[in-house]
Amino acid sequence: MDDRQIITMYFVRDEIALAETQQKYGEYVMSIAYNILDNVQDAQECLNDTLLKLWNLIPPENPKDLKAYIAKIVRNMAMDRYRDRTRQKRGSGQVAVALSEIEEIFPASNDVLSEVERRAFVAFLNQFLQTQPERERNVFILRYFYMDSVSEIAKTYKLKESHVLVILSRTRQKLKKAMEKEGYAI
């Protein structure tokens, strides 16, 4: 069933929409959630919560790209759950490793971003990513959006893990330079 048909079923409140969503995107959701939570049971709960959230959001939401919409929901949900679980201490799994990588360019700071600042940064980030070569961009997104492990990314692109690490390192440095140029405090 294509995404438009699934969304239509949400609109007419046909619960088959949930079954179709799970069938089509269940594994996708689980992989994102598991990357972040490092726990099958938590990932399963995330999947269930994602389906519930979709049911509650659509309608009135009418996502243009259902896959991306679902990815964002599950990612945010899993990240919230991760934060609740770890609180003050560093947790396990890919989020912890990704955080330590990102901290290279974001030293500890107490600044809190306003909503306007958040939106501006997301716009900047989109533009930055668009200017990167396709492979570097995708590797960066696989790592810091999907929280894929370095070994998974290496398999996807048939690279050595060390090379993936260097791609990520270089892109982080480019991001840092771009942020400094835009006046973001690093």
């Binding site: 996708y28 243009k64 790209d65 896959k67 991306a68 919409y69 990815a71 964002k72 990612r75 945010n76 990240m79 934060r83 989020v95 990704a98 955080l99 990102i102 901290e103 974001f106 500890a108 700071s109 600044d111 971003l113 958040r118 940064f121 997301v122 980030l125 989109n126 990513l129 668009q130 070569p133 396709e134 492979r135 961009r137 995708n138 997104i141 696989l142 810091y144 959006f145 999907y146 996807t156 692109y157 048939k158 690279l159 050595k160 060390s162 090379h163 690490l165 260097v166 791609i167 390192s169 270089r170 973001y184 405090a185």
Partner: protein, 271 residues
């Protein structure tokens, strides 16, 4: 902004970026004509190098003309004017490593080729003809490529450098990255330089040389990977218009790994 904030904000990037990243697969191949060009160069290069090595090893005594050190030294010092360094003015230049050499012209190269199998001119013509036949470039371009390859590789051959074997790593991107490994002067140390158009990095993600001048044409011509009868060329690294690394690989079809990796060893002429 904290690292945590960044990770959160990554969750809000454009949908198309998110979906495309997951739909991506292995890197695209370079255009067919460039791959043909590279493999033609690789095939000729490997055959010539092996032939020269055999000849040098077998020949002994006064029949072999001595290497003209004056020509060599003048060639090494005149790299600023060499055709391959004509783009030096495009960016800052860093000091070339002591083991990097270059030549101004085929005349200088011919001195070294007299003792080898075939003259410089013959080798040049042979390579140019192969390049022309196997690629989509014209005669003039093929000649230019052949000239550059000849000028860069033969000094190593004539110096009698030892090939200890071949190895390789995955070449990820034709347009940007050049993954090169080498060892120098008998050292067993291995480096991987991930190399974009401005910086030279090592395998640990450390910046080695910043703003390295890259001559795109040279890199384009020499870089690539292609299977053809067990030969795979991974490219030449050119810094300051001079070849500093020559990496050629022979592979019997098995997968490469660090354990099987070897490369050219090369020494400074006269040392």
């Amino acid at each position: 902004m904290k690292a945590n904030d960044f990770l959160n904000l990554m969750g809000e990037i454009d949908d198309s970026l998110i979906v495309n990243a997951k739909n991506a697969s292995a890197p695209h191949r370079s255009p067919a004509w460039r791959r043909m060009l590279i493999i033609a160069a690789a095939a000729c290069l490997v055959v010539s190098v092996l032939t020269a090595m055999i000849v040098i090893t077998m020949r002994e005594g006064p029949g072999v003309p001595p290497i003209d050190t004056e020509t060599t030294e003048s060639a090494a010092s005149s790299t600023e004017n060499s055709p391959s360094s004509e783009k030096e003015t495009e960016g800052e230049t860093s000091g070339a490593p002591p083991w990097s050499i270059g030549f101004d012209s085929m005349e200088q190269i011919s001195v070294f080729l007299q003792a080898a199998n075939g003259s410089a001119e013959e080798w040049d013509q042979y390579l140019a003809q192969n390049l022309y036949q196997m690629s989509n470039i014209n005669h003039t371009e093929a000649k230019e490529v052949a000239n550059r390859i000849s000028g860069h590789v033969y000094p190593f051959i004539k110096e009698g450098f030892e090939m200890e074997g071949f190895g390789a790593d995955i070449v990820p991107s034709y347009e940007e990255d050049l993954d090169v490994r080498f060892k120098v002067n008998g050292s067993t140390t291995r480096f991987i330089y991930y190399y974009d158009r401005s910086d030279l990095w090592n395998v640990d993600g450390e910046l080695v040389i910043e703003d390295v001048p890259i001559y795109n044409t040279t890199i384009d011509l020499y870089y690539g990977e292609r299977w053809a009868n067990g030969i795979r060329l991974y490219g030449l690294v050119v810094i300051d218009g001079v070849v500093v690394n020559v990496v050629i690989f022979l592979e019997d079809g098995s997968e490469f790994s660090l354990d099987h990796f070897d490369c050219f060893e090369f020494r400074q002429i006269g040392s």
